[in-house]
Structure formats: C-alpha cells, structure tokens
C-alpha cells in the first residue's frame, strides 16, 4: 500500500468507526439497559478496534467486525461483573422529553422491559439482527454458533415478544381510534 492509500485507509477507518458508534450503542444498550455501562462497552470496543485496526482486511466488513468486538467486551464484562448487577439498576426510561407522546414512551418502556427479560442468548441474537442489522451468517460467526442456532434463538425471542407485546399492540389500536384526522 502506498503512503497515500495507507493514510486514506486510516482516515476511512476512523470515519467508519465513529459512524458505527450509534449502532453499537443501541446494541449495547439493549444488552445492558444501562446507559453508563453501554457507553463503557462501546468505548472499549472503539479502543480495541483502533488497536487492532490492521486485523481488518476489508473495510466493508467493519460493522460486523465491530459488533464482534463489542460482543467480546460484553462477554468479558459478564464474566467479571455479573453478580453485582440487579434488574433494579436498569434504566428503562428515555431522556425526559415532554414533547414526546406519553403513549409512545409507555410502549417503548414495555418493549424494552420485554427485551430485557429475554434470556441473554436470545437477547444477544435479537439485538445483533434487529438493531445491528447483521445477517444471520455474520451473527453466527460473531458468536461462534451454527446459523441454525442463530435462527432458533431469534425465533424464540420474537415469539416470546409477540406474546408479551400482544397487549401493547391492542392498546395502541385503542389509542388510534381517537386520532384526530
């Protein structure tokens, strides 16, 4: 690689790294439901990614590569910290914004609660697919599990959410009947 190309790659690497931050944060938040912890995990991920930037051959593979690093950071955290946590520490509420409809916040809270109550393995796969927008194959590689396992965990997660959220859907409809045209 000539110097200009190397410099260019380095710039593009950093640009994509910053661009990847919101997505990583969403995934980390869905795993932890704790803003401070999610932020730490993302920061660790960014730092590890910078240190290992030479390991990434193809920049197009960056989103999956970052998610894999995030997964490792999360696993490391679980190994060392798990017993300290309590579901009471989870912060489900969004930033207070009076302009946002009450109903939406309420539903959002219920969805997040339902996601938080999924078994870890299912929540991990669900977040990577739905929030990370990674393919089944990418997730299988990240988690070192067969693709069939990705699919079955995702299915169980969505089926469980469909049951829990059935009431939410119903109530939303009631709200909508009052909608002013």
């Amino acid at each position: 690689m000539n110097p200009l190309a190397a410099l260019c790659r380095s710039h593009e690497f950093r640009r994509q790294l910053e661009e990847g931050r919101p997505r990583l944060y969403r995934i980390a938040y869905a795993w932890t439901h704790n803003a401070a912890l999610a932020d730490d995990l993302v920061q660790q991920t960014m730092e590890r990614a910078l240190r290992k930037s030479r390991h990434l051959q193809d920049l197009r593979a960056m989103p999956a590569w970052l998610a894999a690093i995030l997964t490792n950071c999360w696993r490391d955290h679980l190994r060392t910290q798990r017993p300290m946590e309590d579901i009471a520490d989870y912060d489900f509420e969004a930033d207070a914004d009076p302009a946002v409809e009450h109903e939406r916040l309420d539903r959002q809270t219920r969805v997040r609660r339902a996601v938080a109550n999924l078994p870890d393995a299912q929540r991990e796969v669900l977040s990577l697919v739905d929030l990370g927008e990674h393919s089944y194959a990418e997730v299988a590689r990240m988690l070192h599990i067969p693709i069939g396992t990705v699919m079955s965990r995702l299915s169980r997660a969505r089926a469980a959410l469909a049951v829990v959220l059935a009431g939410t859907v119903h109530e939303s409809n009631t709200v909508n009947l009052r909608r002013i045209k």
Partner: protein
C-alpha cells in the same frame, strides 16, 4: 400441490429478514397466498421486529462525561489531508444495496386475509435516507398503481416515512418532489405520510420549521400508523 408445506416461525423470520434464497422466498409467498393464518403470523413477527427497532432508535444517553478528545482530534487531523481523495474512492460504496425484490413482490401477490376480494391495500415504509430505496419505493408504487388501474381493480398505497426517511417528503430537501407531485396528480389512491415525531425532532435539531411537500399527510406516530393499518388488513412492506 394443494398442500403447501408447513412454514414455521423460523422460516417466516428468515423471510422477514431477507435471509431466504429466492426459491425459498417464493415458497413462502406461495404459502402466504393460501394461508391467512400464516399472513397474520407474518404481520405479528414483522411488527415485533419493527417495535424492537423503534424502541431502541434513541436509547438514553449516559450522563455527560468529558468529551473523548483523543479519537476525535486525531480523526479530524486526517480528514483535512485526504478528504478529497477518499470521497472519490469510497463514494460508490453507498450505492450498493440489496434490492428487496421479494418483499415488493409479496405486496403485489399477497391476498390480504380480511379483504379477500379485489381490493388490496399496501403500505410501504421508508425509514432511511437512502435515495436508492426511495426510488425503488416510487417505482414500485407507480407500477402497482398502474397495474391495478389497467386491471380495473382497487388498490390503496400509502408511503410512510419516518426517521431519516422523512427527507423524502421534505419540501426543502426531497430529491423526488416532482415525481411525488406527478404521482399525486395522476392517482387519488396514493398517500404520502410523514411521521410527526420525526418531523418534530428534525425541527428541533435544525431550530427552524421544516416544510413538507404539498399534499403530504402527517401522522402523530408512524408505529401507531403501521399497527393500525396492519390491523385493517394492509400489507406492510418495509423497504
């Protein structure tokens, strides 16, 4: 064969996530045409997916910390030097995007469970600021409207935009203003709808009013709109 093979949740999910081969996706679509229960389940599962996405679109931010100067600072220095070169090299990558042929085809094929007649109602949902996707939505909308007009069948199409997809309906930013006006003038059965939550958020960010294209409708919440439409038997297609 009159006995379409059983399609389980796993396959439906793979279908929703665009993970099936064309052949497998066609099998699912064929099954959907004759199996109202399956259509209902498809709606439920895709709704769960949409609810999860929306519920984490804006996770709460951590309490403020000192800015992360190191990463930003170094990145900024590099930007000054090579931006021009990179724009040319990497510009094209934004254009690669997998066409969701199967989902659009689904909208064309599916017979809505509770309608059962000749009336078809389709909602196309745009949530990203991706011109390729927006163009596909407009192309498909035009095809659908034209096809049903020629066949003298009824169809209603609603194009719903939220998040960054709102750009499609911004009078000050839409790359497709003329095209949308043309569709609105030619067809009465198409609506273009913007999400008020997304609009409010954008206006707050920009600190000014953002005008929408004339004839656009505003819905208080895009997710509520999706849920309501699905319940009314609309086919929901996320682009």
């Amino acid at each position: 064969m009159n006995h379409p093979q059983h399609i389980d949740d796993t396959r439906l999910n793979a279908f929703i996530d665009g993970a099936l081969s064309d052949e497998d996706a066609e099998q699912v679509m064929a099954a959907l045409q004759s199996d109202a229960q399956l259509g209902k389940r498809l709606c439920q599962l895709s709704l769960v997916r949409e609810m999860v996405r929306q519920s984490y679109r804006e996770p709460p931010k951590p309490a403020s910390k000192p800015p992360r100067g190191r990463l930003r600072h170094r990145a900024a220095a590099a930007v000054l030097i090579v931006t021009g070169v990179c724009a040319g090299w990497f510009g094209n990558e934004a254009l690669t995007w997998r066409q969701p042929d199967t989902l659009i085809d689904l909208a064309r094929l599916i017979h809505v469970p509770n309608a059962g007649r000749d009336s078809v109602k389709v909602m196309l949902h745009v949530s990203t600021n991706d011109e390729g996707k927006m163009k596909t939505v407009l192309d498909e909308t035009e095809k659908l409207l034209g096809y049903y007009e020629r066949e003298l069948k009824q169809i209603n199409v609603e194009v719903l935009t939220n998040g960054a997809g709102l750009n499609m309906l911004r009078a000050d930013a839409s790359p497709f203003a003329a095209r949308i006006r043309d569709l609105q003038q030619r067809y009465e059965n198409v609506r273009f709808v913007a999400c008020k939550i997304a609009l409010d958020k954008l206006q707050k960010e920009l600190g000014r009013d953002v005008p929408l294209l004339p004839g656009s409708d505003l819905t208080p919440s895009s997710l509520d709109e999706i849920i309501r439409r699905q319940k009314d038997g609309w086919v929901y297609v996320q682009i």
